[in-house]
Amino acid sequence: MRRYFFHTQDGRPFHDEDGTPLPDDEAARIEAARVLGQLLNEHPAAVWRDEEFRLTVTDEHGVILFVLDIAALLSPAAGGATPNLGAT
């Protein structure tokens, strides 16, 4: 077991101080997806409001292991000025 730390930005920053022991990186990646999914479910408006909706997993030394990023883009038709999604 190794301790993984799940830091998130979902409208406000959350710094995981305690970490969670998990068997391996694969288990941590699965957990990361579940946590981000739960956060999206709980704060559906935040993903449209903030520039960052992100989960970063680090090891006990603070080294970043993997990142899950949610990108929310508005096309010009929906009132978004940028980015250009390719429509001409």
């Binding site: 799940f6 995981d16 305690d18 970490g19 957990e31 990361a32 579940r34 739960q38 709980e42």
Partner: protein, 240 residues
């Protein structure tokens, strides 16, 4: 031995001295279970119902693929499977979460007492109705609330139920759940449980280490949980 159970039963009726003595008399000698030990097996057909005297147990439903849900937590003074009295086969297991002491009521003896004392039978029925009420609230909370509200609601409920049987000391009580167990209660991953615990701590509402909970701001916890203890029915019931 079963004073805590008798206190719960006394909210219905209350039972007479004779009824209390008769119920106490059928109880089997104390048995002990270690943390993690299975007390009642899923699909078994118990011939007796178990009363928890000390410690905490969980009702567990196992799914294929190794996931599981803890569908209820039992505290001292609770019957962990009174419904087994009337059901042919268990649809869930019961697991000891820490060191537990139990006694049991043999079903043949319970049947005899129910025939002899109809009001005691109704008082036992009341206990299973309260169980069902708690299940309804867990469904509502797990189905509709976010993780921090689920955790806050669980802590409010356990504080209230444990306080009722004298097991809260100055806002502090034992909660022998690992993070994985808590995830199985709250329907979220262990990582998410961890987040929620840290958030409640950061807001100075609750400290919850592995084995102990200290409530620091009850009103704030109740507000996060939207906790209303009506469903626990910890009030005197009256027969009209």
């Amino acid at each position: 031995m079963i004073e805590r159970l008798l206190k719960k039963l006394s909210r219905y009726g209350p039972p007479s001295g004779e009824e209390c003595a008769a119920l106490s008399a059928i109880m089997t000698p104390v048995r002990r279970f270690a943390a993690g030990q299975e007390v009642i097996r899923q699909y078994s057909a118990p011939k007796e119902s178990t009363v928890l005297l000390s410690g905490m147990m969980g009702r567990l439903v196992m799914l294929q693929g190794g996931t599981q849900q803890i569908t209820a937590l039992q505290v001292a003074g609770d019957f962990v499977d009174l419904h087994a009295f009337l059901l042919a086969r268990m649809d869930h297991s019961v697991v000891a979460l820490n060191a537990c002491e139990v006694t049991t009521a043999p079903h043949a003896e319970l049947r005899r007492l129910c025939d002899l004392y109809p009001r005691l039978a109704r008082a036992l029925w009341y206990l299973t109705i309260v169980d069902a009420s708690i299940h309804r609230h867990w469904i509502t909370v797990l189905g509709r609330r976010d993780a921090i509200a689920r955790a806050a609601h669980l802590l409010c409920e356990l504080h209230t139920r444990l306080d009722d049987v004298g097991l809260v000391d100055n806002g502090q009580f034992e909660l022998p759940l690992t993070q994985a167990d808590s995830g199985d209660v709250l329907g979220v991953s262990a990582v998410h449980v961890n987040r929620v615990i840290q958030e409640l701590r950061a807001r100075d509402v609750v400290t919850w280490d592995r084995r102990r909970v200290q409530i620091k701001d009850w009103d704030a916890l109740v507000a996060i949980a939207e906790f209303d203890p009506t469903y626990l029915q910890l009030i005197q019931q009256t027969e009209t």
